[in-house]
Symmetry: C2
Subunit: 220 residues, 2 copies
Amino acid sequence: MSKTPQKKASKKRAASATHPKVPTIGYAILTSLAHHPHTGYELTQLMGPPRNYMWEARHSQVYPTLQLLTRYGYVAFEDVQQDSRPDKKVYEITGPGIEALRNWAKKGPTHVPVRDEFSVKMAALRMLSPGEAVAVLTRQIELVEGEIAAINLHLVDFARRLDIPEPPPSDHRQFCLISAIRLSRDLKITAADAYRKLLDDLSRQEESARVVRTHAKRPR
Amino acid sequence: MSKTPQKKASKKRAASATHPKVPTIGYAILTSLAHHPHTGYELTQLMGPPRNYMWEARHSQVYPTLQLLTRYGYVAFEDVQQDSRPDKKVYEITGPGIEALRNWAKKGPTHVPVRDEFSVKMAALRMLSPGEAVAVLTRQIELVEGEIAAINLHLVDFARRLDIPEPPPSDHRQFCLISAIRLSRDLKITAADAYRKLLDDLSRQEESARVVRTHAKRPR
DNA sequence: TGTTACATGTAAATGGTTACATGATTGC
DNA sequence: GCAATCATGTAACCATTTACATGTAACA
């Protein structure tokens, strides 16, 4: 088992335009790279489901975006040869990349368009019988509760790996990231609470309907 | 300039494929139409910012989607001539449309990809000084609090217009819709709380940094 | 006279997903 | 042999935004 991870220095940097337009996924990647160098594969794992805490993306978007950021000079990569693994490109953020990220972070405020498929479905639940709606809500609650548990696990794991005390000190390098991950969890908790409340209301209604039915009245 | 709002009956209905693929925006439109007929213009107002409670869209997406739904036979429209306004098309949902909406609502659960630009920004705030970060958070909190106030206003207005008691009865036709709108407000409240918490933590940090700089006691 | 509201579309470009494509290594 | 993990890319398609395009009426 000869393990000789070699480095072939080939840092590349391209000329950047005045204010090149970077999509949000680009800033999400820059934010990740600002705290640690990563390969495209690792970034894909950080940003792909189920680890979608802030901005979900797949590898087919990550790799082209890394090429874009490289063209802009916002990131640079090193080719790393591995002998028992495919070669990889380890990306890190550059000075201009840090500047671009800072400028983006400073400007705002940011309008966040709401695009929540299950909220649409929630509004459409009145097309179903209370019983059918209860089934849909039950399944959704299970899904979201699993996601919440996964985020909690990840937060604990994260804190242990980096020896972050509880509560994390506000001057820690990862403090803002942890706040954002917690927010993503809290948003899911808020959603799950709403689903549970609607479920309760509808099942109470279903029950009273059943009582009415057993008193010889026709449903719907 | 005679005032004669006429109706020219021209309900159209096209042959539908077996299981035509409808994007989420289509179901959002069907959900709106399931509770009341609307024109494309009205739908645009319901779905466009700032009234983006579940699924944001602009008119350039709404009109083509209505054409798609018409081709599928899920909606039908009436041409309504108005003399002191441009003519309009009033769309309503059809039987097959209701069926398609019900089938979509029943299946799931629905993975909701997280794609929140401000959460990315939140994680990137550590690139800024505490003072700069505090400014960004302050502006964002103002924005979101305005949106929350607008949703509350809309809910009150809605309840008054439709004579819905407080709390709304769970068997009301609009109950699921109201629940979804409340959820969209609660999600914004959760986000605002997180922004405020981070703001507090960072401004305390900023203050202690200032104390260190001035070698003086804490002001206030 | 200019702006807003009403009313409906299309075109071009960008953003994002799904599927295609390849290939080595580890473990069952 | 077969699946999973590591590793990187491209092509085709679908979804969304921004800009182009038009016209009337009410209001200030």
